[in-house]
Symmetry: C2
Amino acid sequence: MGTWDGVRERIRARGMRWTPQRRVLIDVLARADGHITGAELVERCREVDPATIPSTVYRTLDVLEDLGLVSHSHGADGREEYHVLPDADHGHLHCLGCGATWEIPEAEARSLVRGLERARSFAVDVTHLSIAGRCEACGRIAEG
Amino acid sequence: MGTWDGVRERIRARGMRWTPQRRVLIDVLARADGHITGAELVERCREVDPATIPSTVYRTLDVLEDLGLVSHSHGADGREEYHVLPDADHGHLHCLGCGATWEIPEAEARSLVRGLERARSFAVDVTHLSIAGRCEACGRIAEG
DNA sequence: CATGCTATCGCAAATGGTTGCGATAGTGAG
DNA sequence: CTCACTATCGCAACCATTTGCGATAGCATG
């Protein structure tokens, strides 16, 4: 709601076009706050408009990422994972055992990488940060 | 050289088989210390044996990873990146601008994630750790 | 050396995502 | 309202990787 209202204008202000295909994706995104894979977004768009073409969806996602309306990172298997409406930048934690995901809040993520950034003058993209491992529950199972 | 010598025995000790296809991949790996993508490994195997099938290579990489002889992480685009003979566990740093890669030594990687692990009782897989951002040179270009 | 068990292979199809290109259709200007 | 410019689309091919399955072939045993 709200946050998506100005999208049409923001797109046109950049000399880009407001098309039916983009409207469909934005409708889907507006209903999907949270994390979602690229493939899942394509599928949901196809529910709204069965003629949806994957490449169009991925290209529109690139545009929206440029505008800061979505960000993406990669799951433990390397597949794309989109995050809708990133009010605050944050990273992700993935459990290799059960597949669960947690957010790493911006402040925590930034302080994690601070040493790395200082030592190497490297600017980390925390929205893209994705860390894999085993959560407490899965760790106990593995030892048992 | 050395480290690969016992592989045949280690494989057979697990009730697994020593096949020509595995021999080819191990030959290729022995010549390729460092980082290399899955696709690149397939290509190099095909140079040795043009009949090489991709799925066989990927499946063999899985068993070698089980044995601890290779590890993999994902580049900034999510594609697989194998690391041969990981004497020490380490993470990777990827520049989104120039595509360069750096290793994050185990000690540094572990201390990075220590807070995260304590706070959540989460065991991070540092060999899978891959951080993206901009290196110093690319950062300067972006500002200019 | 022959035999059988089953791990591994080859193949073909599917998945998730990307790219190049000619055709379509938003959009601002007249 | 028309026109022209060009951003975007649809399509088809391609890339990297995975999966299911029947056929092949290691290798332990007799």
